[in-house]
Amino acid sequence: MTAPAWGSIINLTIAFAVPLLLVALGGMYSERSGIINIALDGIMIIGALVSCLVLRAMSNAGWGKTLLSSQFGLLIAVVVAGVSGMVFSLLLAFAAINLKADQTIGGTALNIFAPAFSVVIAWAVQGKGLTDIEIPKWATLGYKDLGISGDVKADFLPNLFKSFHITVPIAIILLAVAWFVLYRTRFGLRLRACGEHPQAADSVGINVYRMRYSGVMISGFLGGVGGLAYVLVAGTSFGGDVAGYGFLALAVMIFGNWNPGRILFSALFFALFKVVATQHALFPFLPNFKGLKEVSCLYNLIPYIFTLVLLIFTSKKSRAPKAEGIPYDKGMR
C-alpha cells in the first residue's frame, strides 16, 4: 500500500466516523438518563435540514469568500444544527417524560416526521420538485487551504487533509467533554443515576424529570450536529435523508457499551468498514471477489453481523442503563 492510499483511508475513515461518533454520543447521553432515543435518525435530518438552509442563505448573501468568513459561517451552522436538533428532541422528551408514552413509538413517529418534513420544507423554500439543498463549496477545506504543500499523487499529508471540515475538531472536543461530564461532574453522576435507578435518585433529591430532559436535549444537540457532519461528508447536497446513519449510530453506541472511549473506537470501526465497502480499490490486499457484483454490499454486511455476534457475547455483562425505556412514575415503587 502506498502513502497516498494510507492518507485517503485515514481521511475517509475519520470523515465517516465523525457523524457516527457525535450521534452515538448523543444516544449515550439520552440512554444514560433512561430514555431510549430511537429518534436519532430524525433528529439528524432536522439538524441537517435547518443548518443546510442556513448555509444556503449565507451563500446567497455572499458569505464564504474568505477562509475566516467561511469557517465562521460553518461554526454558526453547527450551532444552528445543534439547537434545531435540540428543539426537535423536545417532542420526544415531552412524550416520554411528561406523558409517559412508549419511547420507541414516540421516536418512530419523529423518524417518520423528519424526512417528510424535510422534503416538504425544501419544496416550499426552493420551489416545486427541488428536494435537494445544495451545500456551498466553501464548507469543505482542501489541503491547500490548510497550508499543506505536496503532491496528491505521491505524498501522505495532502491526502490525509484532502477534505477537511470544522466538525472534526468539534467532535474531538465534544468527545472529551462527554467523558469529563459523565465521569467527573456531579451532573454526570446524577444523569447516570437516573438511568440506572430513578427512584433511588429521586429519594436523594435529584429531579429525575429535569435530568431526563437534559439527557434527551443534549442528545438532540449532538444528533443535530451529527446530521450536519454527515451531510458535509456524504455529498454535495442534502436530499432529506441521512441514509440511516441515526440507526447505525445506535449500533455504534451499543457496540461502544454506552462508554465515550469505546464509542470512539466503535465509530472508527464502523467507519473503516464503510470505507472498505465503498473504496475497496484502496485496499489491494483484500479479496476482490472477481465475477461477483455489488461486492460493497458484502463488506457493508460485516459491521452489522459483528454487532449481532457481539450482542450475544456481551448480553450477560452489558452496561446498558438498567432503567432505560421505562417511564419514571413518582408513585411507582
Binding site: 406523558l99 409517559k100 408514552a101 418512530t108 413517529a109 416526521f113 417528510a116
Partner: protein, 355 residues
Amino acid sequence: MSRLKSNPGFISILASLASIVIGLLFGFILLLVLNAKNAPAGMANMLTNGIKDMGNVLYNAIPLIMVGLSVAFAFKVGCFNIGASGQYTMGAVFALFCALKWQLPWYVCLLAAILGGAVWGMFPGLFKSLFNVNEVITSIMMNWIGMNVSVLWVSNFSQMLAPNPDRTMALDAGNPSAILPKAGLDSLYSYLNIGIIIAVIVAVIMWVIIAKTTFGYELRACGLNKNGAIYAGINAKRNVVLSMVIAGALAGLGGGLYYLTGGGQFKLEKEILPMGFNGISVALLANSHPIGCIFSAIFISYLKLGGIAMQSQGYATEATDIVTAVIIYLAAFSLLLRLTIIKFFGKEKKEVAKQ
C-alpha cells in the same frame, strides 16, 4: 348507548378517529403556513383523490395490511417489530427468486416469501429469548443485513434482472405463471388481484388466533405481564420466538403479494424500504387489532394516493407522511387519549381503558 360508551373496542376506535382528525388538522395548518393560497385545494386533493381510484388504493393497501399485521402481532407479545422492513424485503426477494430463477408458479413463490420473512423474523426472536437482547436493535441490524443481502443476491443472478439492471425483470416477461390470479378484480385497477382477498383472509385468521385460541391467549398473557405468564406455566421464551417468526412470515408474505404482479419490479436501491415503518403506522392506528389493520391500511394507502395529487398544488407528496407521523405520535400516548375520551363521556371508568 351506555353499553357502547363503556365498550373498550368502541373507545379505541374513537381514540384512533380523534388522532386522525388531529393529524389532518396539523397537516392542514402546515399547508396553510407554507402556502395559504393553495392550502384548501391541496388538502382537498389529499382527501378526495383516492375516491376516483379505489382499485389503486386497495392494491397499495395489500402490503400495508400485511406489514401492519406483522407489527401488530408482535405487539401482542410485547415485542416491537421494527424489522418488518427487512422481513418484507426478504419475502419479496425469496418470492422473486423462485419466480424468475426457478420459474415456479405463484403459490410456491408465496410460500417462499413466507419462509424468507419468517427466517428474518426468527433472529430477533431467538436473540431476545436466548440472550435477552432487545429485539429493537436486532431488528434494525436485520433490516440492514436484509437490504444488503437482497441487493447482493438479486444483482448476481442475471436471470432476475430487467434489461435495466437496477431492478428485477417484470413478471409479464419473466414468468407470467408467477403473477397472482386477477379473478376479475383487475376491472377495478389493472394490477389488483387476489392479493387483497388473501390479505383480508390472513387478517381474519390472525384475529381468530389471537382472540379465540389457547396459543393466542398465551401470547397476550406474555405481552401483558411476562413474569405472570411464566408463573402460570406459559413458555414465554418459546412464545416470543414463535410470535416473531409469525410476524416475520406476515411481513414476508406482504412482500410476496406486492411484487408478484405484472408490474411489480423490485428496485435495487441501497436503502431500507419505508414499508416496514408504514406497518408501524398501520398497527398503531388499528390499536394492534388484526381486523382494524385492514381499515387503517386502506386509510393510509388512501392518504398516500391523495398525497400524489397534492403535487399539482405545489406541495410535496411527503406531506401525507407528516400527517401519519402526527397520528403515530398521538398513538404513543393513546392511553391518555382514551382516558380523555372516557372522561368526556362523564364516566371515569379507568378499568375500561386498561383493557
